[in-house]
């Protein structure tokens, strides 16, 4: 047996390793994660570029094409879907029983959940970079240094969206209920954000929709990525993303606590 500190590290490597293996075995998951944003980029954006003008707005210093505008939103979309995929996989693990192996290991539950979160975020980073490389090679001119500077932001946004997925998984009892997540979480979060249109465009259409977009944590994930991609730092968006990450994670830990969470009120995991 290792010393107390290395037990934590060994468990982290074990969880990362298992997640990597599962990702490797589920190649369709990777393809789906890649095809989805590429369809948006190559088909949806191609159609919209002629009808939607994007004026000069920070962090852009000149007029940009619509394809260029939606790249950060699509990168965040990959992380949003990955967070929900991790959530789905946690519900599946709970139904299949393998979650019990994790939750009965001799480490604090918050730490085990954090390891799961880190593992999911690393998977999402891999997916986002694969998308950005294809986008850069085929269609959009992205600053090369920006591809490096977004890494820390992508870690935070990946953790935030993963924590949201984890929180949702603590409240969902059956796999069948997961379809609701698509309708009530993923689509509203994605469409009511700055991923597809700048917020000033939303304001032109409706003040209410603008206000909802401004309250949507996903908007701040998108804007953090957008600014970082152009080597700028949007402090406000980043801080909101960090605050949401902490809030979602704390609530997820409470959700998985048998003394306090949803699990307390139902049959064992």
């Amino acid at each position: 047996m290792n010393g107390p500190r290395s037990i934590y590290l060994t468990a982290l490597t074990g969880i990362l390793w298992r997640e990597a293996l599962r990702f490797f075995y589920q190649r369709e998951r990777f393809l789906a994660a890649l095809v989805r944003p590429l369809i948006w980029l190559f088909i949806f954006a191609a159609g919209f570029r002629s009808v939607l003008g994007v004026s000069i707005t920070p962090p852009y210093e000149t007029y940009i094409t619509y394809e260029t505008y939606i790249v950060p939103g699509l990168a965040a979309m990959i992380q949003l879907f990955n967070g929900m995929q991790s959530s789905l996989s946690m519900v599946y693990d709970r139904e299949m029983g393998s979650m019990r192996v994790l939750l009965t290991s001799p480490l604090p539950r918050w730490y085990l959940l954090l390891c799961k979160l880190i593992a999911g975020t690393l998977v999402s980073l891999f997916q986002v970079y694969a998308f950005l490389v294809i986008a850069e090679l085929v269609l959009v001119d992205l600053p090369l240094w920006g591809l490096i500077s977004i890494a820390p932001v992508l870690i935070v946004t990946g953790l935030m969206l993963g924590a949201l997925g984890m929180l949702l998984s603590s409240t969902i009892r059956q796999l069948e209920n997961f379809a609701g997540i698509m309708n009530f979480v993923i689509f509203p979060m994605f469409f009511l954000s700055s991923a597809l249109y700048p917020l000033w465009k939303m304001k032109e259409a409706s003040d209410l929709i603008y206000d909802i977009c401004a309250l949507n944590p996903f908007t701040y994930a998108v804007e953090s990525i957008r600014f970082a991609l152009y080597l700028e730092f949007n402090g406000m968006a980043f801080l909101v993303a960090v605050a949401c990450l902490l809030a979602f994670f704390v609530l997820a830990v409470i959700g998985y606590d048998p003394r306090k969470g949803m699990i307390r009120r139902r049959a064992p995991l």
Partner: protein, 256 residues
Amino acid sequence: MTDEACLEISDVSYAYGAKAALREVTFTVRRGRFTALLGPNGAGKSTLVALVSTLIVPRQGEITVLGHPLGRDSRPALAEMGIVFQQQTLDLDLTVRQNMLYFAKLHGLSGKDAGAGIDSCLAYMGLAGREGEKVRALNGGHRRRLEIARALLHQPRFLLLDEPTVGLDIPTRSELVKHVHALCAERDMAVLWATHLVDEVWPEDDLVILHEGRVRELGPVSEVLARCGAPDVFSAFTGLTQSGGPASDQSEADRP
């Protein structure tokens, strides 16, 4: 062999909403003893296993594993405990070895320690040579063996099994029961084996009969049979669970 208490359950109650699952359950599992927790479906066995494995926490009472109260700090207790749940908990897409290695890492075992432990536990459970096979390709009996091998990997002093023979054919079931009895004796481990099948209880075992969330009888099998005036475990079990017999007063002398 010592008389050391490995699991102490004291006055434990649990309810799902308004429905009581366990009521004032008290018993002890001792080192080197195979204790069968016998009860019909819905008796509360799985709830008790979930409580001991810390998946849920009791509303009332205390559970202590090898001197560690679960309510205060469950981690040292979990480090000493091997658990096999009724529902299979293997990752079907990973190989036998990958499942073992994942578990080893969760318990802080890595490198040579993990490798040697995996080889020895797989060999002990008759799974040597199957390391590279995907778990999905194993039959039910081998999956159960793998789960037991995995539960032994960190050399626990207390083994908790919840209906581990569910879905297995009679020869495999009987072989598994024999194997765990041997394990209990050879390694001087405490074993709590939850089951609804009376033929899994051996005459030298300790017995806890659970019905409708209450302990109806407990003690060494011979003493339980004597108190019930029954010729065998089946008669004692049916007598206690079908007539709704009185709950045991669980005096100190009665405890295994």
